[in-house]
């Protein structure tokens, strides 16, 4: 047998392998790890997300290294270097697109992985530390997303840093020094970008990769969570014994019995990333990060849109306390979860609170993210000059009422109030305002503001106010205009000028 040519080659190959094996000893360990017994129930399609997240991390490292070949981490050159990658380098745009979409996919998969682990009770004894390390990995992943967004040094990144600095600056006592530490100097500039580059390229990936190694090591040491069964309670006294017995009797080797599903899913995810990259292209950069160009409406990337939305809806007085208290509470809760609920039922059908929590969190994050995509709370800064008053709102109107429509546009009312579904959505749509408010109420609201609207008393003269009110009074749809009920008993005087204007002429 040894004499045949083929086995001679084989023998040589084996010799080389053995040479390394004798010195490294890796082969046997890899073989042992990949063949580790897994409960047959855990060789499931539900258990593929962790490995997919790891493969995505690999993609991010790879594409990141390639981008770093060209990217210039200086405030003066970052933006041009991104344009250069997008437009001047072969497939540069595709590399950037893969890195960008890979980041979104990674966060999504990590969150799904986390929800699955939570619903399957996999964080319970003895896998508490695996969960805790996982929470840290989630935070690091989000940290990568935020720092990565800064490296795409465009207008959104610049003003996004401003938002970060402003939030940091609202922390009592240490806020000021922390802002300077964050920015690396007195303003957002070159020092800021290079420290985010350092975080994104050296610090966080280093901790992330080490964390993933620990996470994976614990999965190998403790075994993959068995498929939960209702009524099969986790007890610290006998879980390990039962798990060992279970894997002994029903265990299958991870490779190939379970691993093929991981491999298929990871491949599908990779194809999806490439698909998004190819068809949707790279993310940004938007405008050049010139602080003197203020015609911009900065918005964070997808993973942080929900925070953007929450900050819009919080009452001002609650904002700082909530910003300072909520994150430690949420992160602390996640970290402590397995220590508090480390035993007991694993199956979701017997953990209604867990299911409810996941549903609630998913709905809340989903709704706020969706709201963040179109930001109804933001004024539409150019609505006043870019939309016309709908023609039907001008037909059969008096000259005064038409003059009022001009005032409506000219005074930027449209930036916050829509007509015929165009215009800002910060304030209510005014298509039927006269059916909802009386003339007096409208005048009062315009002049004194309130309820999130500035007072326009100083920005309107009496003639403008009169015209504007006349125009608004024509907007009542098919309903009759609202009327003060107390006036019904008095003689009808439909056209008298509004009393508050006459009594309180606005200043100037």
């Amino acid at each position: 047998m040894n004499d045949s040519k083929q086995s001679g080659l084989k023998k040589a190959g084996l010799g080389v392998f053995n040479w390394f094996e004798r010195r490294l000893g890796l082969g046997s360990q890899v073989a042992e790890m990949s063949g580790h017994p897994t409960p047959v129930s855990a060789a499931s399609w539900w258990y593929v997300f962790g490995s997919a997240a790891m493969v995505l991390l690999g993609l991010q490292v790879m594409t990141g290294i390639l981008l770093a070949l060209v990217y210039s981490p200086s405030a003066s050159n970052a933006w041009p270097s991104l344009q250069f990658i997008n437009h001047n380098l072969t497939l540069g745009w595709f590399l950037r697109a893969m890195h960008g979409w890979g980041s979104d996919f990674m966060i999504a998969i990590v969150l799904i992985h986390m929800a699955q682990v939570f619903l399957f009770g996999a964080y319970k004894f003895p896998r508490e530390l695996t969960w805790i390390v996982g929470v840290v990995l989630l935070l690091l992943t989000l940290g990568m997303a935020f720092t990565g967004q800064v490296l795409r040094f465009d207008q959104d990144a610049y003003w996004g840093l401003g938002i970060g600095a402003s939030i940091t600056g609202s922390i009592p006592v240490v806020g000021g020094p922390l802002v300077k530490l964050l920015l690396g100097g007195p303003i957002i500039g070159g020092a800021t970008l290079s420290r985010f580059f350092t975080l994104h390229v050296f610090v966080i990936p280093g901790i992330l990769l080490a964390g993933v190694a620990v996470h994976l090591l614990m999965v190998l040491k403790l075994g993959i969570n068995e498929w939960p069964m209702p009524g099969r309670l986790v007890r610290k006294t006998d879980y390990e014994k039962n798990y060992a017995a279970l894997t002994k009797s029903t265990g299958v080797p991870f490779v190939p019995d379970a691993a093929w599903k991981d491999a298929v899913f990871s491949a599908v995810i990779m194809l999806s990333v490439m698909g998004c990259a190819w068809f949707l292209g790279p993310i940004g950069p938007t405008g050049v990060p010139d602080p003197t160009i203020i015609q911009t409406a900065p918005k964070p990337d997808y993973p942080f849109l929900w925070i953007f939305a929450v900050l819009a809806y919080l009452p001002p007085e609650l904002e700082t306390p909530l910003l300072l208290i909520a994150p430690p509470l949420i992160i602390g809760g996640l970290l402590l979860l397995p220590l508090v609920a480390g035993e007991g039922e694993k199956h979701w059908s017997r953990r209604p609170v867990a299911v409810l929590m996941i549903t609630l969190i998913a709905v809340v994050l989903g709704v706020f993210t969706k709201l963040g995509t179109y930001a109804p709370w933001s004024p539409q800064m150019d609505a006043w000059s870019s939309y016309t008053v709908p023609a039907e709102y001008l037909e059969h109107r008096t000259p005064l009422e038409r003059r009022g429509a001009v005032v409506f546009q000219e005074k930027q009312c449209r930036d916050c109030h829509s007509l015929n579904s165009t215009g800002g959505q910060r304030g209510p749509a005014l298509d039927k305002v006269a059916a909802e408010m009386t003339e007096d109420q409208i005048i009062r609201q315009i002049l004194q503001g309130g309820g999130n609207m500035p007072a326009y008393g100083k920005a309107l003269n009496p003639a403008e106010t009169k015209a504007l009110t006349s125009f608004l009074m024509t907007l009542h749809g098919h309903q009759r205009p609202a009327k003060d009920a107390s006036l019904g008993t008095m003689p009808q005087n439909g056209t008298h000028p509004a009393a508050p204007v006459a009594e309180n002429p606005p200043a100037k």
Binding site: N18, E21, R22, S28, Q29, P37, S74, A75, S76, N77, W159, G162, I163, S166, I167, T168, G169, S170, G175, P177, L178, L181, G185, P186, I187, I188, G190, A191, S194, L220, T247, K248, D290, P291, T292, I294, Q295, A297, P298, F308, L311, A312, P316, E317, W377, S378, P379, M381, E410, K411, Q412, D415, C416, G449, N452, M453, P454, Y456, K458, A459
Partner: protein, 221 residues
């Protein structure tokens, strides 16, 4: 997991521990035998070495953290200076206009970001107000709308009246306002840090008695 950790079996090899070959015996054994029976001296030396190392570590930590925290310990006056926004003639009475300046402290790679924008309002011949563009809520750039006499923020809809006071929306206060003065026909402001709720580049504070040394020579060319 139920796997006992085993030494990897080197293929084609069986290594038997415990029996030492004859040619290996000798010097090591002699050294071992020559060791004094009590180990207190070596334990002491080890502890001393650890202590020495810790000391070196502490000394080394000074420059490391000093470098890292350098920006934090910069005093306000190190960052601030009086900066000209140009001739007062370029700010007509009764108007609010956008002005730019180069930050007094800049780095070699700041590029465009060394520039800062601000809003200048001139109410009377010698009365000015200079506002930061940064919204007091989260620092987004506010825009001036002369027709409705409002500053509007594109991010969360904060709005301010022409004098910088808060009109509506989430901002907890009015616009940040720079200290200013007129010097030789030019409007100058005292600036240098990004205004946030935490620093004093903002109004509402008592006006600083300004040190005159923080003056023109510190302005970038």
């Amino acid at each position: 997991m139920s796997h006992p950790s085993k030494d990897p079996q080197s293929p084609g090899q069986d290594h038997q521990a415990g029996v030492i070959s004859t040619e290996w015996q000798g010097s090591e054994q002699e050294r071992l035998d020559a060791r004094p029976s009590e180990t207190s001296r070596r334990t002491f030396l080890f502890k001393l070495a650890v202590g020495f190392n810790a000391l070196v570590g502490v000394v080394m930590a000074v420059p490391i953290f000093g470098f890292l925290l350098g920006p934090v310990f910069k005093k306000r006056d190190d960052n601030h200076a009086w900066i000209s926004l140009g001739s007062i003639a370029s700010f007509p009475k009764g108007e609010t206009r956008l002005a730019n300046y180069l930050n007094p402290v800049t780095g070699p790679s700041d590029g465009e970001t060394a520039k800062v924008a601000c809003w200048v309002r001139r109410t009377e011949e010698d009365k000015f107000q200079v506002f930061a563009v940064n919204c007091a809520h989260l620092g987004c750039p506010v825009r001036w709308f002369a027709q409705s006499k409002l500053f509007l923020c594109p991010c969360h809809g904060g709005s301010y009246y022409e004098d910088g006071t808060r009109a509506s929306g989430p901002p907890p206060r009015g616009l940040f306002e720079y200290q200013h003065r007129t010097q030789g026909g030019a409007l100058e402001i005292f600036a240098g840090e990004m205004p946030t709720l935490s620093n004093e580049a903002c109004a509402g504070k008592k006006p600083l008695i300004q040190v005159t040394s923080a003056n023109d020579e510190r302005r970038p060319a």
